[in-house]
Amino acid sequence: MLKIDHYNIAKNVHVFRQGNLNIAYDVNSGSLHIVDDKTAQFIINMIQVQIQDLKGTGDPHSIFRVAGADLSGEEKNEILMELGALQRNNLLFSQEAEKIEPMYPEPPIIKAMCLHVAHDCNLRCRYCFAGTGPFGGSRQLMSFKTGKSALDFLLRNSGNRAQCEVDFFGGEPLLNFDVVKELISYGKKAAAQIGKKIKFTLTTNAVLLNEEVSGYLEEEGISIVLSLDGRKEVNDRMRPYAGGKGSYDRIMPQILRFIEKRPAASRYAIGKYYYVRGTYTRYNMDFYQDVLHMADQGIKRISVEPVVAPPEEEYALREEDLDTVKKSYDILGEKVLEYMQNGKEFSFFHFNAGLDDGPCLPKRLSGCGAGHEYVAISPEGEIYPCHQFVGQEKYKLGSLYEEEKLNAKVVAAFRKAHVYIKEECGSCWARFSCSGGCHAANAAFSGELTKVYSLGCELQKKRLEVAFYIKIREREQRVLV
């Protein structure tokens, strides 16, 4: 029989309907179950009864009685027996994970770096969080000397990590391609000398992704994130050149030529991969059409993310847009399955869900590691917690050319901003999947690292529901095959 004494169901079990399925997600084990209508309603009713039980006495028998009022005694008993069996096996209504706060090494082990090799850009994207390239500073390129110092800093501070990660970022990194090449060559040698490897990625708008550049990136095994928003009219509205002309006609053919070289790119971004990454705004809340446009062109690895924008911007997403955006995720989820069935498989990054093969709980608690595992380096050699904080003095961690030790207060602030410290996350069913959200988005919208961006939470939860649904349907299809 199910035991729910002192067990907060809403916090630990999430029941929802997606497509034609009732799904129960067990937060603490990460297990997924398909439940019939009666079981789904019974659990939802139990949650409601618990919430209304203001005194918190939570007498299980009265909860079962009230929540299962529409069930026959036999049905109720069957369901409670099945739930009880799953509970004993820690698969549903499972025991809450032991609340151990993340532990961090001292000094911090830095394993990943975003290298801003160009604070300049050949596009003028209207939503750019880098202020169309310079991040509020001047337009400039990183020197080899600064880049080399950055790589040395990473290797020196990466402790026992055998693999470090470096992303060439901007602005547009291909505006500084000669330095990128020099740094890749230097980084590979320097890492090898101390028995390490650097995994390089490059994030580009693809304007300069010609045959020569593509060939080089392929030969050197550099993973790549290519920016494209989708349909021509959508892309060109937000991603024009300085003169206003759209970029689609130039970049789409170059992207398609490039990805032909990587037909087996991992959906989980492992090894040498590519992702085509776009941004959706209030102007294209039907962004599923942009994803499908890319998929129809043969692009297999697609990520399209909600814009990060000040609320006063016309293109910023608003609370009242939530239903429309959620419907787009619903449609996209069905399309992902439809394309798979028709042999036109593609993956949508936010629908990847690591459950039985996903990251461990410590990783899920601590999140992206910005500010203590992951840093961004500006062209001048200043160190920031991540690419989105570059130029924000309040969050500056230090400089490659000054005291090497990182600002301990900033490091501590980022380390402290984990799931267990955020009030809104404590009872949220998605807490182990989103790690409390993006630090930069949280800081931008609430002014604090420890307060969440609620609109972002709603979108994240919707994406997770669709992701879980797809995960189940994928398993079903695999069984049928």
Partner: protein
Amino acid sequence: MAKHIQTVIKGNLSSTVKTGGCGNCQTSCQSACKTSCTVGNQVCEK
């Protein structure tokens, strides 16, 4: 066979609180995500 519930994925997340934390996995923002934290959709590389 259960009549009302079908288990599709069996996870053991809570047990990894003590076994995990090796730190060898990829930093989430280095892959395809540059503006939204998506740790849960990675895979363990252990």
